[in-house]
């Protein structure tokens, strides 16, 4: 059978009957365009989240203690010294995987408090960090330096403060080499400022806190913090993996590495998860949601398909004599069946193409309105186009078969 002439004739039919053709396609157009628009918005969201997560360091692995008995997160619990991760364990880890680990960032919370000067005050949280911390966490220095190995070794009372704190307490004067005293829950601590970093509002910053009351972090050497708190272990730390290491796989290795230390601990175990796997989880979630919505939208395609089937049945009845004539001049049943299947597919495909154009336009507009960089998935377009053709075959088959099985004499006699 001749595909080209079938397609040409279908196009002629469609042109001859513009209103009807448009109405027939409308269901397909609406179905395909909503699927594409939803997928486009979903993909744009997913790509945006991926990008911002990458900036946060997707190759980092967070290692933390996890209670074996309760699912409560470790944030607000107090650990017994025997449960905590020790420097020895972490050093052992570094020795075991020297080529996979680029750096390790350690933190030790000391407490929350305030520093004052005259009537000025600044809220703060005092945290001990190792010298690598600054680099690992992309801390941008505005003046001075970050904490050094010597600060750490000698347990110096050096600190790095935020530009917010510096401005509130020292105004435009340089805070470097100034001493600040911080009132904490457990007493006051004093240290000398060696550096100022640029404060960055966290993505998850508490809304509604006035600028005056913002809490910023003051960093002191880890060993100093250790001495102040009389604590030697960690409930959590971060590993920066070397370039080329699959952080999801390596996180699993790290998890099992700590197994040997914690196999006999009844209360805690160690979990290691990469940002990458978290990104994947979030993306899976978005994909699932947009797929689910797209499937609902695809139901409207079925309605569209039924519309196409309906029009095909009408068209075949109108063209009964034509079908009889074609059979009289040599068309086989298969020829007739193909003719009408191709017709249905062409209708659905044209509807599908219009739907894709409309859906891409709608999806891009939606993504921009929601504040994401629009991302259009070629795979989704290909799938939607193929699916519209499938709808044509599926809903065209019944009418086409009906036409194919017409008795030629009855068809020729049809009034």
């Amino acid at each position: 059978m001749n595909f080209a002439s079938n397609i040409a004739q279908t196009l002629q039919n469609l042109k001859a009957n513009k209103t009807r053709s448009f109405l027939t396609m409308l269901g397909i157009i609406i179905g395909i365009s909503s699927v594409i628009a939803i997928v486009t918005v979903g993909d744009s969201l997913s790509v945006s989240i991926n990008n911002s997560m990458q900036e946060l360091g997707a190759s980092n692995i967070t290692v933390s203690l996890q209670s074996k008995t309760s699912s409560r997160s470790g944030l607000e619990r107090t650990y017994a010294a025997k449960d905590l991760l020790t420097k020895v364990m972490i050093e052992d880890l570094r020795q075991t995987y020297p080529s996979q680990i680029d750096d390790v960032s350690l933190t030790l919370a000391v407490g929350n408090g305030q520093t004052t000067k005259g009537k000025q005050y600044a809220n703060l949280t005092l945290t001990g960090v190792n010298p690598s911390y600054g680099e690992v966490n992309d801390i941008t220095l505005k003046s001075g330096r970050f904490l050094s190995d010597r600060d750490d070794l000698e347990q110096r009372r050096a600190c790095v403060v935020s530009d917010k704190l510096a401005e509130r307490i020292f105004g435009s004067a340089s805070p470097l080499a100034e001493r600040i005293t911080m009132a904490l829950e457990k007493g006051a601590e004093t240290c000398t400022i060696v550096g100022v970093y640029e404060y960055q509002a966290s993505l998850f910053a508490a809304a509604g806190v006035s600028d005056d009351d913002i809490v910023t972090t003051v960093y002191i050497p880890l060993e100093t913090a250790s001495k102040i708190t009389n604590q030697d272990g960690f409930s959590t730390f971060t590993i920066v993996t070397a370039i080329g290491v699959n952080s999801t796989d390596f996180a699993n290795q790290v998890g099992s590495f700590f197994g040997k230390y914690y196999s006999r601990n009844d209360d805690y175990e160690v979990t290691a998860s990469s940002m990458e796997s978290m990104v994947e989880t979030v993306q899976d979630m978005i994909n699932n949601v947009s797929m689910a919505v797209a499937v609902v939208a695809a139901i409207s395609l079925v309605v569209g398909g039924i519309g196409v089937m309906n029009i095909m049945i009408v068209s075949i009845t109108e063209r009964t004599r034509e079908i009889g004539t074609r059979k009289a001049v040599g068309a086989t049943n298969a020829d007739i069946r193909w003719q009408f299947i191709i017709e249905a597919v062409v209708i659905c495909l044209i509807g599908g193409i219009f739907g894709v154009l409309l859906g891409v336009a709608g999806g891009i507009t939606g993504a921009i309105l929601l504040g994401f960089t629009p991302y259009v998935s070629a795979a989704a377009i290909a799938a939607a186009t193929l699916f519209s053709m499938f709808v044509g075959v599926f809903f065209g088959y019944y009418p086409a078969n009906k036409a194919a099985k017409m008795n030629p004499i009855d068809a020729l006699r049809y009034e």
């Binding site: 004739q9 059979k327 009289a328 040599g330 020829d335 004499i409 020729l412």
Partner: protein, 229 residues
């Protein structure tokens, strides 16, 4: 010489075995040689069209055998019957049965669509046939832009396009005035004499029938008379 068409004891019944059983053809024996020009006449409802449809493989007899070119047609698959119809038989209908959405040339090409001929060859051949029926200047016209006689010429060109050996025409002049009808019959005579087509033509016009070599008269589904001239 072997007959091209041979009907043996052909019967056609509708509603067989029921109270309203209708015998449309009753034990018809007919043999037609290649190159003959046969007219079939008879009253309305006498079974002419039914007989023609059986000869044209559009319909199957209830009883009897039909040999086309020596081959038993009852042994053929549906698909083969379609192919034989397309290649050996050309139909001309009383109501033309042109497809309204396509122009005269495309209508003439239609039977070639089902033989797999390439587009260029189809167009060239269809053009040639339109010239034969003196309609080449109307190739791009649509059926609703043509007179009855012109439509029938296009239909005759369509019947001829695959170069079939048999032309079947069921009251081809029935919808035309007598002058136009005569010109159409001239065309069939030309196809018969110059192009060696076997022509079977149904008519109830005695004048038209008189131009055939052989006139077969049907009555109540039986052949009741045969004349040769």
């Amino acid at each position: 010489m072997k007959p091209i068409i041979e009907l043996k004891n052909i019967s056609k019944k509708y509603y067989e075995g029921k109270d309203n059983q209708l015998q449309v053809l009753n034990d018809v024996n007919l043999s037609i040689k290649s190159g003959e020009f046969v007219a079939i006449v008879g009253a309305s409802g006498s079974g002419k069209s039914t007989l023609m449809n059986i000869i044209g493989l559009l319909d199957q007899p209830t009883n009897g055998q039909y040999f086309l070119d020596g081959a038993d047609t009852s042994q053929q698959s549906q698909k083969n019957l379609s192919l034989i119809r397309g290649q050996k038989i050309g139909f001309v209908f009383q109501t033309f049965n042109l497809i309204g959405r396509i122009n005269a040339l495309k209508n003439v090409e239609l039977p070639m669509l089902y033989t797999g001929a390439p587009p260029k060859q189809r167009a060239a051949r269809a053009q040639q046939l339109l010239e034969l029926v003196e309609m080449s200047d109307r190739a791009k016209h649509f059926p609703n832009e043509l007179s009855g006689g012109q439509k029938q010429r296009v239909a005759i060109a369509r019947a001829m396009v695959n170069d079939p050996s048999i032309i079947l025409a069921d009251e081809p002049t029935g919808a035309l005035d007598s002058t136009t009808g005569r010109m159409i019959i001239d065309l069939f005579l030309e196809l018969n004499r110059r192009h060696n087509k076997t022509v079977i033509l149904i008519t109830h016009d005695a004048e038209i029938a008189s131009r055939a070599q052989r006139i077969i008269t049907l009555k109540d589904g039986q052949i009741v008379g045969e004349e040769r001239q």
